[in-house]
């Protein structure tokens, strides 16, 4: 065990943890955050995605020690149901959800891409989501929501 400082959604936490622990467990169990979720634990689905230094990061395969001190944003760090972030609002407006379990993967991956490259093409978006899964197969609406958000970013 060792003391690690984590900055999550603008708040700083001092935690006494096994430094090899994947970040996901710290977020969802020690900090009781609901956005990042365990889907596969293998870096294959996207459910655990958070944004660190502008990159979409799969927290299930990221040792907590490797992100000590870095600014970490989870799905709930973007906005709230009372005040959703524009990309969350786009998903709400498009009703681009079935069970919703995959949303950290879809939303955080798309947001990281569009923050980096506001002019991302459809092909870029497709490419970024090529390793993200939604087993309810809400793909059509999700891509529509992402494009709606992208329009707003460009404008």
């Amino acid at each position: 065990m060792s003391m690690i400082t984590l900055k999550v959604n603008g708040r700083t936490h001092m935690l006494d943890v096994d430094p090899a622990t994947p970040l996901l467990y710290i977020l969802s169990d020690d900090l009781a955050l609901r956005g990042p979720k365990f889907g596969c634990g293998l870096g294959q689905c996207g459910c655990c995605t958070v944004i660190i230094k502008g990159q979409a990061v799969r927290s299930c395969v990221t040792p907590v020690s490797s992100v000590a001190g870095a600014e970490i944003t989870t799905l709930e760090g973007l906005g709230s149901s009372a005040k959703p972030h524009p990309i969350q609002k786009a998903f709400i407006d498009e009703q681009a959800v079935q069970c919703g379990f995959c949303l950290s993967g879809v939303i955080m991956t798309a947001k990281a891409l569009l923050d980096r490259n506001p002019k991302a093409s459809d092909a870029d978006i497709q490419q970024a989501l090529s390793g993200v899964l939604c087993r309810c197969h809400t793909h059509t609406r999700m891509v529509r929501a992402i494009k709606r958000y992208a329009q707003g970013v460009k404008a």
């Binding site: 096994d18 799905l75 998903f91």
Partner: protein, 763 residues
């Protein structure tokens, strides 16, 4: 809702402001008794009007991601004429809600939206409230109208009384009245409109509490250790291999069930990986490549005739032409994106389990069996999981958590590893289907002969069979016995809940015709055999597999006779609603009327085609047709689905946007299952155990344009919508590939290798 403490209905109502002041002296308040099926014929079992006039309603049908929570809220709001945001719906809790058995996606609508259960309770309540208002206002009931929970005189709105004033906080003490009138669909203002899904804002912002987010004070984390191979049993466990590792609390063994409990999730995972256990070798598995022969030859069988007109052999021998084909479908998995999770707190002979089970009351009984408790000492609270698409790991992981919690006397959360989820779930059925038809001189089908084999082992646990899923089995409970039966008895009534009977026959049993087609000579024989793997309902169970075979075969026959596939279908159909979805989809798709395959299909390069398929789901539960347009990349064998046009008729539409969402999702789920999903194994164990070895369509895949045609039938009974589109897609894609290339794929999934192999054969 916070879930730190399980709450009784009484405290729930208290804390939610819905405390019911009973004015009757009857001691058996519905709120203090357990609401099993028997007590749900009471209005109070389904809803209460709070002092402020808002409504709390109770349902035994849960949200699975298919929009049912919102649709049911609309139903309550509509029938009672209150705004949607004045209705709070409580779903699936064995101490609060009525027992409505299992929520299977396609069955919830018929149950709660027709003339029974929740809908009837609301209608009964509205009529009772109107009677109370008539008395209070001194006016005849027919001169009163209701708006936003206020009843007023139609001619003088100042004469009014609100629900809250009439009954707020009191009981109805009323039995559901089967004569109570539902609001006619023509008067709907809430049902039938695209009310946004209530949970979406919380889901999109990470606020929503899934079962995976349930955290209970003093909670520990468990991990299970499953056998290394199918049929392995536990010989010994070396507890010392993990005792002393950080956080490890206990190693738990019960027969072949093995697990560890630790303080933190990561500690539990590491301990489970390090735990040394000796298992017997597996019992061996049939070769993957030979599974369909294995099913066909496996004995004993359980044989069932859905129809048997007993003249099929004779008709076939007199036919001008006889055609036959065989179709193959693989085992597929639910593959929920979140591996299954549950939290259990078993202490002092009582258990509380937070579970995403589709069946809280049945789960209460089987958890009691697994733990050796009385069912009344088990409380199951539904919390939504990730989409399940049928019997995924939700029940099995509930037993896992319960067993581990019982062993340590503290609450335990278990979330399965990806591998444990995928290697041991109750798979969707593999199938092998032989089809044979005869035609007369006009090319009309005169006899249809179907014989199919499919495997079964376990199922949903139901009320008495925890051994129907892996954990119950490992803990010592056998799966439901396989009841061999041959020969099949004659059918006594027509039922087509598995869609084993094709749409094109009359479905005649004992002189009554329940089918949708014209062909009178018909024999449909289904043979179940024991499966080497667990099986259970997966979105459109058996119906998808059968529809793939029927709708591919009718296409093959049409092609052989050089008939247009749409025209040839319509010629053999009698059900106008089924014909209407076929016409609706083909019209919207600008169907090019001509026989398949397309003239002049090139060899090499990209070749395009279109195909159609239709179904009356479960024989009575929703009409659907889809037109698929595909590009076949002949050099690589890749099939790209470019467009799907879906026409659907599920009776009265509760929520058009919710329905579209289900159709779109179902159709794409169908594409994924058709093109790439297949469970694999070696001679000992399942080898499709993660998203590299079981490959669905990712969000970034090339996805087809999807168009939906909704046919609204306000006066028809409500039918299910969650499983219609997924049922027809495989056949429509197969037919489109044939149209594009002239190759007929009879085995799902249509992988590039299979497409190329088929092209090679004719090329």
């Amino acid at each position: 809702m916070n879930c730190i403490n399980p709450i009784s209905r009484r405290t729930f109502l208290k804390t939610s402001g819905a405390l019911v002041v009973t004015f009757s002296l009857a001691p058996e308040s519905v709120f203090s008794q357990r609401l099993d099926g028997a007590s749900s014929n009471q209005v109070d079992g389904w809803l209460s009007v709070n002092a402020d006039g808002s409504v709390t309603a109770f349902t035994g049908k849960c949200e699975l991601g298919h929009g049912l929570y919102t649709a049911q809220t609309q139903l309550v709001a509509e029938e009672l004429s209150v705004p949607v945001n004045r209705v709070k719906l409580i779903q699936c809790d064995t101490e609060i809600t009525p027992d409505q058995g299992t929520t299977s996606g396609a069955q919830s609508h018929p149950t709660n939206f027709n003339h029974g259960s929740l809908a009837l309770a609301c209608a009964t309540a509205r009529e009772a409230l109107t009677r109370l208002a008539a008395t209070r206002l001194g006016l005849p009931a027919d001169r009163l109208g209701v708006k936003d929970g206020v009843i007023s005189a139609k001619t003088d709105p100042s004469q009014k009384v609100s629900y809250g004033e009439l009954i707020g906080g009191k009981k109805f003490n009323l039995t559901l009245d089967t004569r109570a009138k539902r609001k006619p669909a023509a008067e709907w203002t809430i049902l039938g409109t695209p009310v946004p899904r209530i949970e979406i804002p919380a889901m999109a912002t990470g606020e929503f509490e899934y079962v995976h987010n349930v955290r209970v004070p003093a909670m520990l984390y468990g991990q299970v250790v499953r056998p290394p191979a199918v049929g392995s049993t536990l010989v010994s466990v070396d507890e010392n291999s993990v005792i002393g590792l950080p956080g490890v609390v206990k190693v738990v063994v019960k027969k072949n069930f093995l697990g560890v409990v630790a303080e933190k999730p990561w500690q539990a995972i590491q301990a489970a990986n390090k735990l040394k256990a000796v298992w017997t070798p597996g019992t061996g598995l049939p070769k993957h490549s030979e599974i369909h022969d294995y099913l066909r030859n496996k004995k004993p069988t359980r044989d069932t005739y859905a129809v048997n007109s007993k003249d099929v052999d004779e008709k076939l021998s007199s036919a001008v032409k006889v055609m036959k084909s065989t179709y193959f479908y693989p085992y597929q998995m639910h593959g929920s994106i979140g591996s299954s999770c549950a939290v259990a707190d078993v202490q002092n002979g009582k258990a509380t389990v937070w579970s995403a089970s589709q069946a809280v009351y049945p789960l209460r009984n089987t958890v009691a069996m697994v733990l050796g408790l009385q069912p009344e000492n088990v409380h199951i609270i539904f919390k939504m999981g990730s989409g399940c698409y049928g019997c995924n790991g939700a029940d099995t992981v509930s037993y896992d958590a319960a067993l581990l919690s019982q062993a340590v006397g503290r609450p335990v959360r278990v979330q399965l590893t990806r591998k444990d989820e995928m290697a041991w779930e109750n798979y969707g059925l593999a199938f092998v289907i032989d089809q044979r038809i005869g035609v007369d001189e006009n090319g009309t089908i005169i006899a249809w002969d179907y014989e199919a084999w499919s495997p079964t082992l376990g199922n949903r646990p139901g009320m008495t069979n925890p051994g129907n899923v892996v954990t119950g089995f490992l803990a010592g409970f056998p799966p439901a016995a396989f009841a061999a039966r041959t020969p099949a008895p004659d059918p006594t009534n027509f039922a087509n809940n598995n869609n084993a009977v094709p749409s094109y026959v009359t479905g005649t049993v004992n002189g009554n015709s329940g089918g949708t087609g014209n062909v009178r000579s018909q024999r449909v024989l289904s043979r179940d055999v024991v499966s080497p793997f667990w099986t259970g309902p997966l979105r459109s169970p058996a119906r998808l597999q059968n529809t793939f075979a029927h709708e591919s075969f009718i296409d093959e026959v049409a092609a052989e006779l050089k008939a247009d596939p749409v025209e040839y279908r319509l010629r053999h159909l009698s059900d106008t609603r089924l014909m209407d979805v076929v016409k609706g989809a083909s019209k919207a798709a600008n169907w090019d009327s001509r026989p398949s395959p397309r003239n002049g299909a090139r060899r090499g390069g990209i070749s395009s085609g279109r195909g159609i398929a239709c179904v009356l789901y479960e024989g009575d539960n929703g009409y659907c047709a889809v037109v698929a347009e595909v590009d076949v990349h002949q050099d690589t064998g890749r099939v790209a689905v470019k467009r799907l046009v879906i026409a659907n008729d599920v009776g009265p539409i509760s929520n058009p946007d919710g329905l579209r969402n289900q159709l779109e999702g179902g159709a794409l789920h169908g594409v994924s299952r058709t093109l790439s999903e297949e469970v694999t194994w070696d001679d000992q164990k399942v080898t499709s155990i993660d998203w590299r070895t079981y490959r669905p369509l990712p969000v970034g895949a090339e996805i087809p344009k999807i168009e939906t045609v909704l046919i609204n039938r306000p006066d028809a009974p409500a039918a299910g919508a969650g499983e219609t589109a997924v049922t027809v897609v495989a056949a429509a894609i197969g037919n489109a590939i044939f149209d594009a290339t002239g190759i007929r794929l009879r085995q799902v999934p249509f992988t590039p290798e299979r497409v190329k192999a088929a092209l090679g054969k004719i090329g």
